[in-house]
Point group: D2
Chain length 345, copies 4
Amino acid sequence: MSNRVRAVVAGATGYSGRDLIKYLLNHPQMELVGAFASRSGEITPLTTIHPQLTGLTKLNCQPFDEAAIAKLDAQVIFLGTPNEFSHEVTPALLESGATVVDLSGAFRLKDAALYTKYYGFEHTRPDLLAKAVYGLTEFVRAELPGAKLIANPGCYPTTVIVPMKPLLDAGMIDRSQTIISDSKSGVTGAGKSPTATTHFVEVSESFKSYNVFKHRHTPEIAQALGIENSPTALIFTPHLLPINRGILSTIYARLNTGVTRADVLNVWQKTFEASPFVRVFAESQLPEIKFVANTPYCDIGCAVDDATGQLIVVSAEDNLLKGAASQALQNANLAFGFDEGAGLR
Amino acid sequence: MSNRVRAVVAGATGYSGRDLIKYLLNHPQMELVGAFASRSGEITPLTTIHPQLTGLTKLNCQPFDEAAIAKLDAQVIFLGTPNEFSHEVTPALLESGATVVDLSGAFRLKDAALYTKYYGFEHTRPDLLAKAVYGLTEFVRAELPGAKLIANPGCYPTTVIVPMKPLLDAGMIDRSQTIISDSKSGVTGAGKSPTATTHFVEVSESFKSYNVFKHRHTPEIAQALGIENSPTALIFTPHLLPINRGILSTIYARLNTGVTRADVLNVWQKTFEASPFVRVFAESQLPEIKFVANTPYCDIGCAVDDATGQLIVVSAEDNLLKGAASQALQNANLAFGFDEGAGLR
Amino acid sequence: MSNRVRAVVAGATGYSGRDLIKYLLNHPQMELVGAFASRSGEITPLTTIHPQLTGLTKLNCQPFDEAAIAKLDAQVIFLGTPNEFSHEVTPALLESGATVVDLSGAFRLKDAALYTKYYGFEHTRPDLLAKAVYGLTEFVRAELPGAKLIANPGCYPTTVIVPMKPLLDAGMIDRSQTIISDSKSGVTGAGKSPTATTHFVEVSESFKSYNVFKHRHTPEIAQALGIENSPTALIFTPHLLPINRGILSTIYARLNTGVTRADVLNVWQKTFEASPFVRVFAESQLPEIKFVANTPYCDIGCAVDDATGQLIVVSAEDNLLKGAASQALQNANLAFGFDEGAGLR
Amino acid sequence: MSNRVRAVVAGATGYSGRDLIKYLLNHPQMELVGAFASRSGEITPLTTIHPQLTGLTKLNCQPFDEAAIAKLDAQVIFLGTPNEFSHEVTPALLESGATVVDLSGAFRLKDAALYTKYYGFEHTRPDLLAKAVYGLTEFVRAELPGAKLIANPGCYPTTVIVPMKPLLDAGMIDRSQTIISDSKSGVTGAGKSPTATTHFVEVSESFKSYNVFKHRHTPEIAQALGIENSPTALIFTPHLLPINRGILSTIYARLNTGVTRADVLNVWQKTFEASPFVRVFAESQLPEIKFVANTPYCDIGCAVDDATGQLIVVSAEDNLLKGAASQALQNANLAFGFDEGAGLR
């Protein structure tokens, strides 16, 4: 076991952290050597925090401490920590020589000024923004081997970028029309902290939009699709579903004249033919959240109105997996030269 | 009691029928004199079918039978029956002199040809289509007194027409842009019959779109908004929420140059100032399903991106109430000259 | 309107407070004149706290303040406040001459020593414990007219006492056997504060027991049933259901020899024949939560194994209504000489 | 791959069948060679029936046909079929030489007469009842190697037998007192057929008991615990939870004088120290459904009231896994000499 890659998870108390830990405990080529929470708090068995892990690990979760992490000689550090926290600790962690896979938004945007506007803090390391690989795995496989800082994509953006980027790149989308992503997420996307928004009674038997016109995933999607320069190019509206896990996005765009549903499916199938975790729904069945919950897949499908060229894409993923933990592992696997799916079956 | 309006509910076994019955049992000016199911089946106490009604009524639910209804001398007949069934039985019921409030889609569309395309049956009474009042109460109060055939609006259409018709009528909406309603409904909207679609395990912890580009409520919405002649004017996409009751629609449109959020709110407030069951959300809070579940309201609110004139409307209702039973009663109340809200508080 | 009873709700931000307010806004003989929260906080419109009330009231919710309440000249004060808070403020409120209906547990137990053990504070007013009417309405109708301090029963206890007290009083239950109530409640029972226990993701798709052998409703049930002196007489085990509203209790007891299911039903029907809010399920159908959610009823039913005399009672109520707000109104109605059901239909 | 054990799943359209297939597709020593539904129906890709399996298998699901199964030369046949169907087809399948793991109740009870009473059909093969191994894995490891007919335990019984059998065997339980299991199951336990009972709207936001005093799992539990001869020894009450997966049982029993919680935990820990899929909760945390959903574990914990010797056991499992599919694989693994957990991590 000693020659397995030594992995640390910070932010181990959250849902993404927990799911990363589950994967790492079964990973053939990685070994979980440490789990960390926020700076304060006590040493606590992981199984006390996540009783789901009972019988699977004896590791403790420790208060976050750079020195303690350094002693573990970790080769890869997964950060499931808040944005500002990741922004603060990443530089020192990188200096230790470890690969950092950051699941927060701290290194996703190339334009540092957007952090002030969308994240509410000033980004002090534009150099790292420039270096970070935006880890939507399927589009950056060539950049991942040896990568030192991987900005793991946001949960919502993954569901929009996976289907739309290939179509935009292929010139199939009418860029004069606004692309609208009406997206819906389960409550794990809101994190583990108890708030009025995550109270069972406020969520169950209800449904709502939130952060309309203001969500920080909007510039992330626009950047990845290369449409960040037009204010009318993209609308992204998140909604809260009364479920635990899963995102479904309904995406509206206009196809260029002559482009058919078969063309769309064809581009997708070619783009993703070597992608084990993107499934193209080529028949009439469209993706649904129940097909992807608790799996590492992003499912994509579409309907087209031939008379008008209107395209409706439906995509779905588990927000904690392809939207967080499993994509982080796809990225880490490729960074270390392993099979992309190692530990993910 | 004898001078109260005698009311019959057909389709009493369904969810809308049940909620109509609940209202009628407390209505100060109407009296429930009969409850009917489909043609076959046995006489069964309503409380056996709907144990919720225990202690509230001793009425039986009978197999549907025109002669039995005629004997009851009903003045108003509510049809919570399937489309084709309503289409079949309404003419004879009208001949009895009763007012028919049909909650199905059988008399909503003015163009008979659309029934063949969207409902799968040939409509044989275009004369009744012409006479029927499309009962989106807030817009037809002048036509309701004395009306004999009221086509109660569909659940989804109500959530789109209430907010959008005043804005289109006021010339505020850019008609060159497609109006998109991304709508989400609870499972009662799918009816009480057990199917693969309504199985708990298929719905819970999931979410899906359905009938993309094909739902029969599309032409109904377009007709009410007066945009039925343009194929690119409207997209309506229904989705299934893992909740019992409630619809939320997220509606995308472009405002004409210079129109502001304040203008939108102003039009709404004027249009609905005498409407007890439409609530305009004028602050930052947008409608959510939990605010309207088990109530007769349609809530409407909006956000506007000033830079682009993009409008996002969020509307919500209880699909069984403002989307069915309570709107049926608003209509019946006005048809008989009662207060619009009688029996609905 | 001026001769309606002037009512105040303290604890107006919680779920029980909200539902009390809804009732009071439609009450023909009471008028809501004030709404109060905890001592700190700002004056806030009730519709901001509970958007469900939009259009129904213009009242503000104020920080709790005895002087402000006194100015309102309230005749009845409903306390939906925490136990210790009710314990603290009730004496002064009573001195104002108002009737206090306390929905907390502060005045339910006759034995002051139990507060130290089960509630974690020392009760300083045994005199008020002695005077307080324990308001399980159906059993204390004679004591309510003119009552000044009404201790509204706990949500769980109501579901156990309603069916079991008449059977114990009738001598039908084998007192040598332990009565076990395995009870299950929706999440509103845990209150509106966001905690790890009420987080959607911790509740949804799960189920758990809690406070096993330790819940403070155990002595309350035992006291009401007159079995508080035997340590083996009662086991009460609460569980958390992934639903918003409703309690179902499955209660196990042994019938004395010769007592049949018909005898049980007969006692219940006699006991509750003039009780509009207890429904006896006398056929094979047993109570279910969906029959009582959003209603003021307590439903009771049973099965008996004739060979062994084993009785299984199933009872259900809405924990916020018969378990809190509607029972509080039953009690207040009778205290003021109104019809028990006023404002509750 | 050719020397892996050839496995067939009949009843592949159901939930247990689907989960068995998922396991088998990742099993290192077994190979899924065929999937069958009921006798009628068409050949359909498994991915059409279970879109969750998209990308994982190209196998078709065929109508059940003994000849087709015989051609596949299967060494193990898993039956996720209805009770009477399993009863009918098992004899011929056994003659083919294959090992049959039957997930139905058709071969669980030793007393054939109980089938008439509890299952509604006459059992014609008491010889097979005698031979069948009742596969509660943890208690029959010695009997499984080479077993030809394994009756996989019921979902509910597993949650009762796992914790209670060791305590009864150790003489710790007061046999003069009734053991009560108040058990609650998610909806997958009711199967995939759409019925009034499994309709989302009938289940969501509700909770109910069912089959009180009559459930067929009662004699199965009693037999496994060796208490089938006393009519007062056991009460088992099933309830329906509004969740997809998981069972939690709250079990009431009286300990013999002097037996403590530590003794109970000690017996459990010794009994299950080599059992990878039973987890003993030895601290104050009791099992909850969310800890076991989507896992192959049965979790057990308890509370004891020292004053009275009252024991409350709380056990939990995923009804489709330890209650069906994963236990079937534990059994099949041991029957073929594999590691008990092969394919289950």
